[in-house]
Symmetry: C2
Subunit: 188 residues, 2 copies
DNA sequence: CGGCAATGTTAATCTGCGTTAACGTGGAGA
DNA sequence: TCTCCACGTTAACGCAGATTAACATTGCCG
């Protein structure tokens, strides 16, 4: 065949992520995923070890991207770092609502080994937030900050549920203001 | 048998909800659920039409409880109503983290008919929030308020993820302050 | 007492779906 | 031109797990 298809792997991962977001991991068959990119189900095995490997790779990629984004703010002074974290996460959530959904909902379908790596990246990402906040509010105990960060990420990740009522800019601004206000008050 | 078991149905629903929360709908077998209450899998069919009916009933019950809680605030003057909505949702989330998880993640496994009812209740609940906020901030467009409410519910529902670092009272207070701050700023 | 209703049990049944086998085919490099 | 390799295809295979069937047991009630 050797058709000039641009990267098939990436194409499959994208299609699978969309399908998983819409119908859940078990609501999508190998055949469905294949069909979405114009091939049959079993052909997927030329690119991935199996269905779970597909999901693992999707989640790992998301976690790595978020963590990378977070790590990039490490050098900034705390106030700017916080802004960067907020802006970055919001941009990601608004650009990839399907990925956010999958990332939030499907971790338990990932095999143990990969799950550990994903959780590790998630933990590191969380700690980046906590670290920045800790610099800004040294008096607040870390446990409280951790809970506050979870809450704020939940707030931002709500994005896929309130689809399309507001323009992207308006939504980004709203989330930014709300998240910042929530964090600011979390130390009282 | 006719053993003096207190309501078996309720017992099964509880066990199923916990299992679904932990491993996802498809990660739990009929056999698992039965075992959790000390009976075999097929015995469940004496109480429910099938596995999907079980999930439907769980989600319907959650939606109805939240909506009921919300409706109860309708008579209060707006500021108290908002406090009641916040306190009520936070209390529910902290008391039933497993239910919140299932409610957030498993809707797509519910058959169409039940799904419509559940969505309707969710919409009504959301509108109760929007209504109260609309009274407090008449100038803010409803679309923005709707998004803000989604965001705040996402914030509060983050609870099952930041498990047990803080005491329940501390967590409730933190979530309340953060949610209120976020809502307050949502009209700017 | 006799029998129905409620609740369980174990042994099929049926089906969906992930995975594997066996078998093309076209293009790129030697 | 000849040969592989990359990528697909269709036909099995195998199994997990949801239903359903057929068959107890217990206790209430007429």
């Amino acid at each position: 065949m050797a058709t000039p298809t641009r990267d098939r792997r990436a194409e499959i991962l994208d299609a699978a992520a969309d399908l998983f977001a819409a119908r859940g991991f078990h609501g999508v068959s190998i055949e469905d995923i294949g069909a979405a990119v114009g091939i049959t189900g079993p052909a997927l095995y030329r690119h991935f070890r199996g269905k779970e490997a597909l999901l693992s790779e999707i989640l790992l990629d998301i976690s790595a991207r978020l963590h990378g984004q977070g790590a990039a703010t490490a050098e900034l002074p705390p106030p700017e770092a916080l802004t960067a974290l907020l802006t970055g996460h919001i941009a990601f959530a608004l650009s990839h609502p399907a990925l956010i959904r999958v990332h939030e909902r499907e971790l338990h379908n990932v095999p143990e080994a990969a799950r550990r790596q994903i959780r590790r990246l998630q933990r590191l990402y969380l700690e980046e937030w906590v670290h920045v906040l800790s610099d800004l509010h040294p008096a607040v105990p870390q446990a409280r900050l951790r809970s506050a960060v979870h809450a704020v990420l939940g707030l931002i990740n709500s994005t896929p549920r309130s689809a399309g009522e507001l323009s992207r800019e308006e939504m980004a601004g709203l989330l930014h203001r709300m998240a910042l206000a929530a964090l600011t008050v979390s130390g009282d």
